[in-house]
Amino acid sequence: ESSSETTKPDEEQPVEVIANRLDAAEKLGKSIYIGDVVITQGTTKITGDQVSIEHPLSVLESAVATGKPATFKRYSLEQQKWLTGHAEQITYNAKLKTLLFQGDALVEQEGENSIQGPEIFYDLTQKTLRAKGSGEADQRIKVIFTPQTPAETPSTPTPEQP
């Protein structure tokens, strides 16, 4: 890919879907890809055992990936870091630019924090995360903040040890 291609935002790049099998119902604008499915759009990559894609008039609108687990990763140009995640089901809405991780979901911002729970919603435009859990033991939300290493902390004078 030429350098101008790679600096283009992911949403302005073609979407490539690779799989073992395909079952398409074109008039309905629906396709089911089966077996080692990999969806790539720029730096965004989603994998799953099976992916259902809605593509009315041949325009990709949404993709629902299921797997053990389905995985997601994307590179943020502004933060110069990878965002990765996995869940039993990942729904990518290309129109709204949102991601919904459902079932044993985990989303991690490289070297910063990670969030776990039954359901996590990520807005790619706003870069906001929302997690939903319930009172039951295995349905709670867990957030881990990674302390910044010294190199990253701004140089503020540390108080003298007594």
Binding site: E11, V17, N20, R21, K27, L60
Partner: protein, 188 residues
């Protein structure tokens, strides 16, 4: 004396006949045994032709068959085409299929081979193109099938894979292996 002469003459003649005969034999044994190949006999054949097929049941649809050569075998109901181009025109859609060769059997199944190109242009659907090296079309079920790679394109997508089966009329098809689809980026 004359008796001796005629006897000698007789021997020379038979010797000569013998030499000729052996040479003839060696000649035939040297020539390769060419068994003439039975010519495929056709009931009829036609060259550089264009034929129209109109169907009383489908008044607003016609099929135009254009071919460099058509050879038809009545007994087995087999037709062989060279450079066929079949155009199906209906009120809202035109589908063309062309290839280097085609063979139709029992007048319902036709096998297209060599640079097969199928194009469908319709008023209410995106135009589609199908490319492959071999595909079979069943006119009863309108089912297409190919064991080789097939590439399906329309203005926004490109799908390729092997083991294609489907009905482009209904827009329902499968690929059995090696599937790659590319959706063009959308302009917001």
């Amino acid at each position: 004396m004359s008796k001796k002469l005629s006897w000698l003459l007789f021997i020379l003649l038979s010797l000569l006949m013998f030499v000729l005969a052996t040479q003839q034999m060696s000649y035939t044994t040297q020539a390769p045994a060419v068994t003439p190949k039975p010519l495929e006999t056709y009931s009829w054949q036609i060259f550089d032709s264009t034929t129209w097929a109109l169907d009383a049941q489908k008044p607003n649809q016609q099929n135009i068959i254009n071919a460099k050569a058509i050879y038809y075998q009545e007994t087995q109901k087999v037709a062989k085409f060279t450079e066929p181009r079949i155009i199906q025109v209906s009120t809202d859609k035109t589908t063309t299929i062309q290839s280097q060769f085609a063979t139709s059997t029992n007048e319902t199944q036709i096998l297209f081979e060599g640079n097969v190109l199928m194009q469908s242009q319709s008023l209410n659907q995106t135009n589609k193109t199908l490319k492959t090296q071999q595909i079979t079309y069943n006119s009863d079920t309108q089912q297409l099938e190919s064991p080789l790679e097939v590439v399906l394109t329309d203005p926004k997508t490109r799908i390729s894979g092997k083991g294609f089966q489907g009905n482009l009329e209904e827009g329902h098809y499968q690929f059995a292996s090696k599937v790659t689809t590319i959706f063009s980026p959308t302009k917001d």
